[in-house]
Point group: none
Chain length 218, copies 4
Amino acid sequence: MLKKLTDDKLAEILEVGITEFAEKGPDGGNINVIAKKAGISVGVLYKYYDNKETFFQACLKRSLNVLESVLRDIIECDDKLLTRAEKMIRAVLYYSRGYSNYVKMYNVITSGSSQKYASVYAKEIESLTSKIYTEFIERAIRDKDIRDDISPKFFAFFFDNLLMMLQFSYSCDYYKERAKIYCGEDIFSNDEKVVTELLKFLESAFTFSQSEVVHKSN
Amino acid sequence: MLKKLTDDKLAEILEVGITEFAEKGPDGGNINVIAKKAGISVGVLYKYYDNKETFFQACLKRSLNVLESVLRDIIECDDKLLTRAEKMIRAVLYYSRGYSNYVKMYNVITSGSSQKYASVYAKEIESLTSKIYTEFIERAIRDKDIRDDISPKFFAFFFDNLLMMLQFSYSCDYYKERAKIYCGEDIFSNDEKVVTELLKFLESAFTFSQSEVVHKSN
Amino acid sequence: MLKKLTDDKLAEILEVGITEFAEKGPDGGNINVIAKKAGISVGVLYKYYDNKETFFQACLKRSLNVLESVLRDIIECDDKLLTRAEKMIRAVLYYSRGYSNYVKMYNVITSGSSQKYASVYAKEIESLTSKIYTEFIERAIRDKDIRDDISPKFFAFFFDNLLMMLQFSYSCDYYKERAKIYCGEDIFSNDEKVVTELLKFLESAFTFSQSEVVHKSN
Amino acid sequence: MLKKLTDDKLAEILEVGITEFAEKGPDGGNINVIAKKAGISVGVLYKYYDNKETFFQACLKRSLNVLESVLRDIIECDDKLLTRAEKMIRAVLYYSRGYSNYVKMYNVITSGSSQKYASVYAKEIESLTSKIYTEFIERAIRDKDIRDDISPKFFAFFFDNLLMMLQFSYSCDYYKERAKIYCGEDIFSNDEKVVTELLKFLESAFTFSQSEVVHKSN
DNA sequence: AATGAATGAGAATTCATTCAT
DNA sequence: TATGAATGAATTCTCATTCAT
């Protein structure tokens, strides 16, 4: 009887692939090594994936799914803006460490060598968050939680930009070094400070600026 | 005596390398292809650079030098915080288009597979900006241009994060797509909007938050 | 499962390698040519041997093993000194023809460019013979088969020197020519003459010199 | 006016070549490196020598000339057999150290990779010595300095074999190691011992063997 | 279906040789 | 003539992919 690869086995293979690609990049990753580490033959890998490219994309997809599922939990809550932001920041700090390979995979597609993925994946990945962020910023405007002279889409964009950079800063080597240079060597052992400072930054950004306030108070 | 490769020719070779590496990454870039495109033999290339790695780093260095020289012009002005920020945003929008390959090179080293460059380059690249940003935020605090309960280093970090993402959004394919998803297809033909909205975001972030204002107005 | 390269095939590859390296030297030997001649792809060759150097050493090792196994048969007999010597000379004449490539490989490592092999291989190859030769010369001294005022180690050395040169003279092109110049064009079709003359040379060397004899007869 | 390379300069270039080839072998030696070390351009080297092969042969020829001139001094004396032998042994010990590169070059042509040189060089190099050795052994027979039942040519051959091996043992890495294994680590700081023992070996070989003596004295 | 040995195109690198100056 | 920068064929080695078992 022919035994198909179980979903678990398939998942395991992808995980091995993710680890390999996250470390070595899409070019450096070695199919034969991956197969060996996953305890399968290259033959079976090629049964499931046409070529390296396809397999890499499967690894990528899995990474993005994991990231999305993590995100979804937080995103779908119904808290106020800053509470939500705080939850998201904490989530980023938390999973960026444990799931750093997934984040690295994400980082890989953003880099120049992957134009081919650009539009396909951008749509797939960013549509959800952009929509959700934009919506809750719109709601915040209606609720007067936030200044009303802004573009919700742009603010969602800047907000996500900050979160993305935070995510990279906790996962990817270069960004880690950069974070230490900016914030000090101990940044990674002082999560509360990061949360507090970023919240201050956002809190200000989301509320009326002083000049506006002054103006309005006139 | 045969003339050595002129500085111009050398520069041209590096530019070809930058284009190749920006597109294909440090591994994917092909030395033989680069030599052919540059109209030289592989031999010369290896006369000037010990190996692919060394050549890649030369391309990288050139890219970073270009970026830094652009940055330096803006950075060294002595304007007020928001004026400076505006100048920098405009600069980013401007050069990220024309110099997109340099930005891509920067993006390349930040991506996962290049751990080896991480600490070396992070220090080299980020030290300057982090110091300057931090200093002018400190000054802004003394001048009461900005709320005083924040960490200058962290605010510098968040500020640069936003600029970096903007830079990538105007240079790298994935980030371009992402920007369009967030801000609309016409974002790249509407620079003023981007400047305005990001300034609003920053302006808020840099000034007292509403709650503080309320508190102070008491 | 595909069959692994059989031992026979593996041996064949080494033989092709030996032929190539014996002719062209460790540097001149071409891996691609060897693979083609052996009817395999370069890939397999590199599956079994890390690199050219490693493969060369495997060829070398095989050569030395063959030479040693031939030697061992003769060496382990328990005959008197000159009987042994005669057996060894005959063995050298015999196998140096059929196994000339193995001898050439030996010659290759002794030549200048291979300092790296010098100490490693010298120890590996020469230790056995030097010990055995020295021992049977010591025994011959005790048995009064040989003059007793000599250093067994040195005599073993000179004895082996003569055997080595004989070996090269029957295997390596230059030494072949040289032998013809010294001993005449027909040397290679007159083995008995060679055996006889070398035995005379040794026989004298191993027994008391005339002066000693005269001295003793007093 | 065009200045030709002086003989001195030409000699210097060859010496550099000899050093390079002795160390790296005929394949490993690098023409560009040689030119640089010799302080000339590759162009001029190619003006004098058609190609690497030709240049290598010129280096070889020079080496052999040096060796021959050294040899000639000793060889042309008119001493008795053993006195001559002793002089030659001492000469070998002496010049093998100082002139080790020339000896290495000689060793190189004897190794398998150089079939092309075999007959040409063998004739050129060995003819002289073989003739001289044979002649003085013939004379020794006439003078009753040496047993009369031997072949002068073969004894000359064995004699030169021993000298060659001595020469290699003092010049070439592999043979050096081998000599240490046979004769002890201190062999190279104890020339007198070597001379004495080799002379004993030869002295015996050249005189009547014990059995003959016994037979004759009856 | 599964295996994994074998394949061989492709990439980095070297260096003998050429030839414009 | 002399130079030495430039050339590019040749070589080592890798690894995605195939396919006989």
